[in-house]
């Protein structure tokens, strides 16, 4: 379907003239992104602070004393009307003041900031590794369509697609650090003050887990897109011109398979934003995901609000980037522009 619209677009763009539609698209998407994020902040606030019942009681539970209740109410401005509570929270966020943790009084930004870097490293590294390996395998499977390699890889991909992160993580721990081999640490606690890339051994299992979880989608998409591209008229044309098989594959079919794959890579980066929660928890990796799990057990509302806001902002941002990259990577659009 998108192929059709792209083809029609190529025709129309040529007549459309000078104004670059891409700039307009980016501006429009960015504006929409801001609106989405604002609504997201309302949802986050509503879920944590505006639900019926006293949030301060929920936070403190059995340990509620009048003094502690008052302290929590003051921190969250619970004694004011809901709208004014929201205003002071979102106002703080816009000024870069995210409040302080109810668990230990530290500022949320100082507490979570370094963890954002750790999580970003995890997401980027596993995203890149998973994409490269799965993409290459997908292209290879499509090039040797219906070979035994294609069949085995497709069946394995279908199976692994459905596995939850914690199942993959535990399986890797069993294989590589506890029962079969003892090669890698089962816990990836990066010592405070050191960066993730200084602890490569600790990174292996979390990265492998996330890469394995996203790989099947990318494999299947890359294979599907390549198969589709290789059945197209222009590839047939290139083949009839007498070009070598490799040339046809890499220079004619492959570029046309990139845009749909970029979309799936984008989707998987977004998936990783949720996936890190479980994986960081399993390996005790000091990222935002593990922080969220801790915060939810402690009902540390300012930390929950901040982490969820970071994850959703990541989603909105990646979505815009993915759309633009997929558009730029589309050969049809390039030749038309």
């Amino acid at each position: 379907m998108s192929v059709l619209t792209a083809r029609m677009g190529a025709v129309r763009l040529r007549g459309f003239g000078r104004r670059h539609p891409l700039v307009r698209l980016v501006v429009m998407r960015a504006c929409l992104g801001v609106v989405t994020l604002w609504l997201v902040s309302v949802v986050i606030f509503a879920a944590t602070q505006a639900l019926p019942g006293n949030a301060a009681y929920a936070v403190l539970g059995h340990t509620a004393t009048p003094q502690r209740l008052q302290a929590v109410e003051a921190e969250l401005h619970l004694n004011r009307p809901v709208v004014s509570q929201y205003e002071s929270w979102i106002g703080g966020v816009l000024r870069g003041d995210f409040g302080s943790s109810l668990a230990n009084g530290e500022s949320v930004a100082a507490l979570i900031g370094p963890r954002v870097v750790n999580s970003a490293v995890l997401v980027v590294v596993s995203g890149v590794i998973g994409t490269l390996i799965a993409g290459a395998l997908g292209v290879l499977a499509a090039a040797r369509r219906d070979s035994w390699f294609d069949h085995v890889a497709s069946v394995v991909a279908l199976g692994v697609t459905a596995l939850p992160e914690f199942v993959v993580a535990i399986a890797l721990v069993i294989l590589f650090s506890v029962l079969v081999l003892h090669a890698l640490p089962a816990v990836s606690a990066i010592p405070p003050g050191s960066e993730p890339w200084q602890n490569l051994k600790e990174l292996v299992l979390p990265v492998a887990t996330l890469a394995i979880v996203i790989a099947p989608y990318i494999f299947r998409m890359a294979r599907g897109a390549m198969v589709e591209a290789m059945e197209s008229d222009y590839v047939e044309m290139a083949r009839l011109k007498g070009l070598t098989r490799r040339r046809v594959l890499l220079l004619h079919a492959f570029p046309n398979a990139i845009p749909p794959v970029v979309q799936v890579v984008g989707l998987n980066l977004l998936y990783l934003a949720g996936g890190i929660v479980v994986v960081e928890y399993v390996f005790n990796y000091p990222g935002v995901g593990a922080a969220l799990v801790d915060a939810v057990s402690n009902r540390d509302i300012p930390v929950i609000q901040f982490v969820v806001l970071v994850l959703t902002a990541f989603y909105v941002f990646v979505n815009i980037i993915t759309d633009v990259v997929a558009l730029l990577a589309s050969p049809r659009r390039r030749t038309a522009g």
Partner: protein, 303 residues
């Protein structure tokens, strides 16, 4: 309703494909085990009967867990609630998604715009994170988990169904029924819905699989179905520390979840291939329908 039983035919055809057979067999074994399990468990699943992390023996074939409870009994008892909550949230999420998707496609204009913006907002939350957010203050109640996971499915289903329904709404027979004076509700339920049923079936399969992943994941993190009740996600986490002494306490629930989700996903794949007649994986369908906003934005550039 026209073609009210078509979906059964689709299921039957999908079930006869090689993938369908494999999927049904794998998932069926685990589902059967989860349903029958509580009645045949040899011991009380929540009572300590032997030593902590005791290795397998003739009395306790899968050994004991972190509190000396019989692993076999806990495995047998720990599946049905997970499956029930997953089924509930799937029904809720797909139901709401179909409703929103068809309404957006049928009414178009402002309704479409508003509904799809709301969908965008909910899509920004990773599903597990959305469930965690709701559970964080209200507490891990079973009904809340069901609702939270259901809501988190709805926007994705809505996008896919809307894309499919847009094509249907354009067709002549829908216009004809409208001209006959049928109310909007009748047109949507009687004409549009039957024609997007194959998409809905694929979504049901996908979302049921994802529900199990998310709910088991929540339990694994300790925010799902609460102890001491047995459940597979929680068991994996409880017994991680005893992996060397009695690996079965972890391996058994890991295997069950893996076989179940692989089976469900394989069967869903069979439905997708049967109903669409093309070699496309189910999730690619979602991408084509614009889950990432691709179709929409390409369209924007074109216009």
């Amino acid at each position: 309703m026209r073609g009210g039983w078509e979906w059964l035919g689709l299921l039957a055809r999908a079930a006869r494909t090689p993938r369908g057979v494999a999927g049904i067999t794998l998932a069926g074994v685990v589902i059967l085990l989860a349903i029958v399990g509580p009645f045949v468990a040899p011991h009380q699943p929540t009572v300590s009967v032997t030593a902590t992390f005791a290795p397998p023996s003739s009395a306790y074939p899968l050994g004991a867990d972190d509190l000396g409870r019989d692993v076999l009994s806990r495995v047998l008892a720990g599946g049905w609630l997970l499956l029930a909550v997953a089924a509930g949230s799937t029904a809720l999420g797909v139901g709401a998604g179909v409703l929103v998707g068809i309404a957006a496609a049928y009414f178009g204009g402002v309704t479409d715009g508003v509904l799809m913006r709301l969908v965008d907002v909910l899509l920004a939350f990773p599903q597990l994170v959305f469930a965690l957010l709701l559970v964080s203050v209200l507490g891990p109640h079973v009904w809340l988990i069901l609702v939270a996971v259901g809501i988190s499915h709805a926007p994705q289903v809505a996008r896919v169904v809307r894309a499919a329904a847009l094509d249907v709404c354009e067709r002549d027979f829908v216009r004809a029924v409208e001209l006959l004076g049928a109310p909007a509700r009748r047109v949507m339920v009687g004409e549009v819905l039957p024609n997007v049923l194959s998409v809905v079936m694929v979504e049901l399969g996908l979302r049921f699989t994802y529900s199990i992943l998310i709910i088991a994941g929540l339990s694994f993190l300790g925010f799902g179905i609460q102890p001491p009740a047995a459940n597979w996600g929680l068991m994996i986490n409880e017994n991680r520390i005893g992996l060397v002494a009695n690996p079965w306490a972890v391996v058994a629930p890991v295997l069950l979840i893996a076989v179940l989700t692989i089976g469900l996903n394989t069967f869903t794949d069979a439905i997708a291939r049967t109903s669409l007649g093309v070699e496309r994986p189910a999730e690619q369908l979602a991408v084509v329908a614009g889950v990432s906003g691709e179709a929409a934005s390409l369209g924007e550039v074109v216009r």
